[in-house]
Amino acid sequence: MRLLENTWNDWLTQTFWTSLGQTLQMIGFTLIIGGGLGLLLGLTLFATRRGGLAENRIVYVILSVLVNIIRPIPFIIFMTAIRPLTMAVMGGYIGTIPAIFPMVIMCSMATSRLVEQSLIAADPGVIEAGRAMGASRLHILTRILVPEALAPLILGYTFLFVGILDLSVMAGVISGGGLGQFALSDGYRKFNDLVTLVSIVVMIIMVQCVQLLGNGLARLILRRR
């Protein structure tokens, strides 16, 4: 029995590569779109908060409550809960591409807080200097604050990568494909621990690579200054 369980064959190899491709696709799209939306949302939160550059209590409270409501929902529940919306936006809800939609939403929520926190930690003196020079609010946000907070932002996005990988694995549960589905369907459900092990190792390698890259970039930026 045991020999039979931990086998590897050409079909598994093929499935593995397909799954890896799907995972990279999900992570890539989520990181770019969700990360981008999260950056916008985070900048808006930062600008509209009390004493901010464009203080606006109504906007801040609405966005803040939205983020606070969505973020704690377990992703596996969230995916199923917004299925009608996914259907409407993506034209379907099964498969890798539709799975990206809930991932993007969840990712942008997490990113927004991360961006907001990174900007809060930046020296408020540079905002005042920018204002005194006659820079516009948008200019101050994008050309002064984002560069000032670049190192913590990069570290934040690096940290986020692990979270997105986690989301992509859960997407596998609802037929999103990817290494998660590979590990669950071909590993766990078929008692093939080798498949699970391979999936885990690959994911660890991915996380390590991204972490090294992120740390390296952040260090480069900080050392240069």
């Binding site: 200097a129 005194a132 006659g134 670049l150």
Partner: protein, 374 residues
């Protein structure tokens, strides 16, 4: 130096709401600052001077009143027009507020970039400004590699890059050591002389005012309690807070402990006199001679005379003893004669009957060392 007012504040009021109360940061202040002047605003922390200076470039909005900059009321401007006015007002800060993500050259070039200068013109102007402040060799360095004095030089180069007509200096030397402070003050003086920049300088260090300012306003609890030319304020301060500030710069005004010590040594009547350029010149201050003719011996027992904006100024404590020990009126007669001659004096009493110096009556403003974060 005084010319057309380039900055005019008219009945300006600004309050800050805290949880429990409303703070009058600026309370009905009216002020004219002439073009080409170096105008100092001195006050203890929390006096409202940081807020006052931020009203000029509208970083803070007024609650009421007018703030005219080159004739334009900045309180009435929209966001876009306000940004244009701000680009003609440079500002430097206590903590420098340099962009840590940008090189020295990029920091200095930033206001020019905002103003839409092309790269070639920008580089030329940046080079000129770096040369003006003397840090050309650090052009490609990042601010964290610079000393405090160098950082403020970059701040000044950045603030002056766009050739503003006004420079606001918010405690620009408070984070610097005395030697670096002098270098930065020299630089500001050059900006005033060579570029004709009007400078509004906020400080809690009277030495900075003494070194640099033509005019000075003393602020306390949101109000301007005294203002005038630097020499006049130094020579004839009327307000206790002003006197205390001046004491920190001149060091010749004895504190209560010193007076007590002097009483211990000298039993006679001690009188504190302010020595000004005009009193030094006039016959009236030939005190020893006058005193002698009125039957009083006088001896200087404490004090010093220094220079403020190029003119002599100081304080001396003299002991006055009647030659004839029974003639106790002689000293009073001498003092009223001095008053008639326009000499400022403060009676410190005798050992047996000491009189407190009114300057030290108030206990406010002991924490002048650190400017609070608003």
């Amino acid at each position: 130096m005084t010319a057309q007012p380039i900055i005019s504040l008219r009945h300006v009021t600004k309050n800050f709401q805290t949880k429990h109360r409303s703070v009058h940061a600026v309370d009905d202040v009216s002020l004219d600052i002439g073009a080409g002047e170096v105008f100092g605003v001195i006050g203890y922390s929390g006096a409202g001077k940081s807020t006052l200076v931020r009203l000029i470039n509208a970083l803070e909005s007024v609650d009421s009143g007018e703030v005219l900059v080159s004739g334009v009321d900045v309180t009435k401007l929209g966001d876009k027009q306000l940004r244009e006015v701000r680009s003609t007002i440079g500002m430097i800060f206590q903590q420098f507020n340099l962009f840590s993500a940008k090189t020295v050259a990029d920091n200095v070039g930033y206001p020019l970039k905002l103003a839409g200068w092309d790269k070639v013109k920008r580089q030329a102007q940046v080079a000129k400004m770096l040369d003006f402040v003397g840090i050309t060799d650090q052009a490609q360095a990042y601010p964290s590699h610079l000393s405090g004095g160098q950082k403020q030089r970059v701040g000044i180069a950045r603030a002056l890059a766009h050739s503003p007509s006004i420079l606001l200096a918010d405690e620009a030397t408070s984070a610097l050591d005395p030697e670096t402070t002098n270098e930065v003050l020299d630089l500001l003086r050059r900006a005033n002389h060579e570029l004709g920049t009007t400078i509004v300088l906020i400080t809690h260090e009277m030495g900075v005012v003494q070194n640099l300012c033509d005019q000075v306003a003393v602020m306390e609890a949101g109000r301007i309690v005294e203002r005038g030319s630097t020499y006049d304020i130094f020579a004839h301060p009327r307000y206790p807070a002003t006197r205390r500030f001046i004491q920190t710069a001149l060091r010749s005004h004895p504190g209560p402990d010193t007076v007590q010590r002097l009483h211990g040594i000298h039993p006679g009547r001690l009188v504190l006199m302010t020595v000004t350029a005009s009193s030094l010149d006039s016959e009236a201050f030939n005190l020893a001679k006058i005193a002698e003719t009125m039957g009083v011996t006088s001896s200087i027992i404490h004090g010093s005379i220094t220079e403020v904006t190029g003119r002599s100024l100081g304080n001396v404590v003299v002991e006055l003893v009647p030659v004839n020990t029974d003639a106790t009126d002689a000293v009073d007669a001498l003092l009223s004669r001095l008053s008639d001659d326009g000499i400022d004096w403060t009676d410190l009493g005798t050992r047996d009957h000491p009189r407190p110096d009114p300057v030290w009556d108030q206990t406010t403003g002991k924490d002048a060392e650190s400017e609070d974060q608003r």
